[in-house]
């Protein structure tokens, strides 16, 4: 049997030198961040950027029940990145897949450098990232929101890690790729930084770039991070005052 799907959203095919959603090459999608949005979690945050909706809960520092994972001289930071079944066009089956396992790992590594883990030996800090709606760039959105949730939980930190991607689509290096730009584009470079020092805690490159394009993407992503960083601080100030 043959299935034909009629869908007006496909095949837009605008080949102008502007981005499909009218953004400049170095412009972020509209975003908002809110801290302290859940009752039970020790800390929480909600973030929207473009069509992405991300909720993060933090529990801890708390007792680690899996003795095998325990670290004698520091806390373990465990992240779980998870997509809600209804967050994507085709329903996602519940439970971890290879993609979410990898993202959970690099998210932990992106956040760890900023947290004073050594203050809480033998314990765990658990970060649960739920993607309620996905529209390109969820791993960065998750990291940015997770920092705010960690702060909301009162976890002592060196800095607020912030994350944003740049990449290449239609031959141009652009900031903060939308889902469509990521899908049809040539490369995506997600980056996370600690804004005080500019040090990089997450870096991937998925796609094909020259060294120059890569460097340009990296710089652009760092600029994007800095803009988001302001919104993180505002979210925390709004919750706690300054």
């Amino acid at each position: 049997m043959i299935t034909i799907i009629i869908n007006k959203n496909l095949n837009k095919g605008s080949q102008s030198n502007e981005r499909d959603d009218g953004r400049a090459f170095d412009e972020l999608r509209p975003f908002k961040i809110e801290a302290g949005v859940l009752e039970r979690a020790d800390g929480s945050a909600y973030l929207e950027i473009g069509g992405n909706k991300v909720m993060v809960a933090v529990y801890g520092p708390r007792e680690l029940h899996v003795r095998r994972l325990m670290q004698p001289n520091r806390a373990v930071l465990r992240c779980r990145y998870n997509m809600a079944p209804f967050s994507v066009d085709d329903r996602k089956r519940p439970g971890p897949d290879r993609r979410s396992v990898e993202i959970s790992k690099i998210t932990s590594e992106a956040l760890m450098p900023a947290v004073f883990l050594e203050k809480f030996p033998r314990s765990t800090i658990d970060v649960f990232i739920e993607i309620l709606e996905a529209e390109g760039g969820t791993r960065c959105a998750g990291i940015t929101a997770a920092s705010v949730a960690l702060a909301d939980a009162g976890i002592p930190m060196r800095d607020l890690v912030v994350s944003c991607a740049a990449g290449k689509a239609n031959g141009e290096v652009i900031l903060d790729l939308s889902e469509a730009e990521d899908k049809d584009g040539e490369a995506d470079v997600p980056v996370a930084i600690m804004p005080r020092t500019g040090e990089i805690t997450l870096l991937q490159s998925d796609g094909h770039l020259t060294s120059e394009e890569f460097e340009k993407s990296l710089n652009l992503a760092i600029e994007g991070c800095k803009k988001l960083s302001e919104a993180q601080k505002e979210a925390i100030i709004k919750r706690y005052g300054d």
């Binding site: 869908n7 979690a41 209804f86 996905a134």
Partner: protein, 265 residues
């Protein structure tokens, strides 16, 4: 799984009940504040965010083409799945749904199905071969008691919000027209009303604290015509027949008010 409630809190809550009071000043038949939004997830064909007090559930509905069950070739399918994700409470753990999660999904599913909420016969595209399957996913993100009622309320709202593409057979070809989105055919409305028993009293819409010290629980699913479409007892202690009959009768009253939270259409 093991939640230890300090005796002093338990005692104080029980004393309040004795005096006809609750810790948040509610009456025995009073719900906490309810908030219900629909259309909250653009990528889901139907969605709702429901809050009862601090309890919060996101519900998404997604249609998918599938085959009907071989013993019911002329009806579509409604599948309910629930995830007590670890975000929602410190004792929820990652992994496949546990028994609480399974019970929540199955009771919600029975309530919607037995009430005849969705006109499943209208979901048939080609009898015995192609029907719409509606996947209803309950994503529990904050757990402060009474998941059952929130799950049914959110599911009802998400289904009322759902639009499915027009689908038809043209000869051997299945045509799915996403430019023509049709509201899911809703036949009936049903909600659920949960009581817990504390110190011999039945109180509605238990908070987390109240659930933790309850002796028993009863959840009653009811249609707008006051007929019963689901019931489930829970908890480690028994209920008397009189308590059950009383709960049914109080549900008849309460459901009328609860229905007002649903989108009016």
């Amino acid at each position: 799984m093991v939640t230890i409630i300090p005796d002093i809190i338990k005692e104080s809550l029980t004393n309040l009940i004795k005096n006809g009071e609750r810790s948040d000043n509610r009456k025995f038949d009073e719900y906490r504040e309810i908030s219900l939004e629909t259309g909250v997830i653009d990528k889901a064909e139907g969605s709702a965010r429901v809050k009862i007090g601090k309890t919060q559930i996101m519900v998404g509905a997604k249609p998918q083409i599938g085959e009907p069950f071989s013993d019911t070739p002329n009806v579509g399918v409604l599948m309910t799945n629930s995830e007590l994700i670890p975000m929602a409470a410190p004792d929820f753990e990652p992994g496949p749904p546990d028994e609480r999660s399974v019970e929540l999904a199955r009771v919600t599913d029975r309530c919607m199905r037995e009430a005849g909420v969705v006109d499943l016969e209208k979901l048939v595209i080609k009898e015995g071969e192609k029907v719409w399957m509606i996947f209803l996913d309950l994503h529990i993100i904050d757990y402060d008691g009474n998941l059952m009622d929130a799950a049914v309320l959110g599911s009802m709202a998400a289904l009322m919000d759902t639009k499915i593409p027009e689908a038809r057979m043209e000869g051997d070809e299945l045509v799915i027209d996403r430019e023509k989105m049709i509201p899911l055919p809703i036949k009936e409305k049903a909600l659920m009303c949960t009581f817990v028993k504390i110190n011999g009293e039945l109180i509605v819409d238990p908070s987390l604290e109240e659930e933790q010290i309850m002796s028993a629980r009863i959840s009653i699913g009811m249609r707008s015509d006051s007929s019963i479409c689901a019931m489930q007892k829970g908890g480690m202690h028994p209920l008397t027949k009189d308590e059950i009959i009383k709960a049914v009768s109080r549900t008849t009253e309460i459901t009328k008010t609860l229905m007002e939270h649903l989108p009016q259409k």
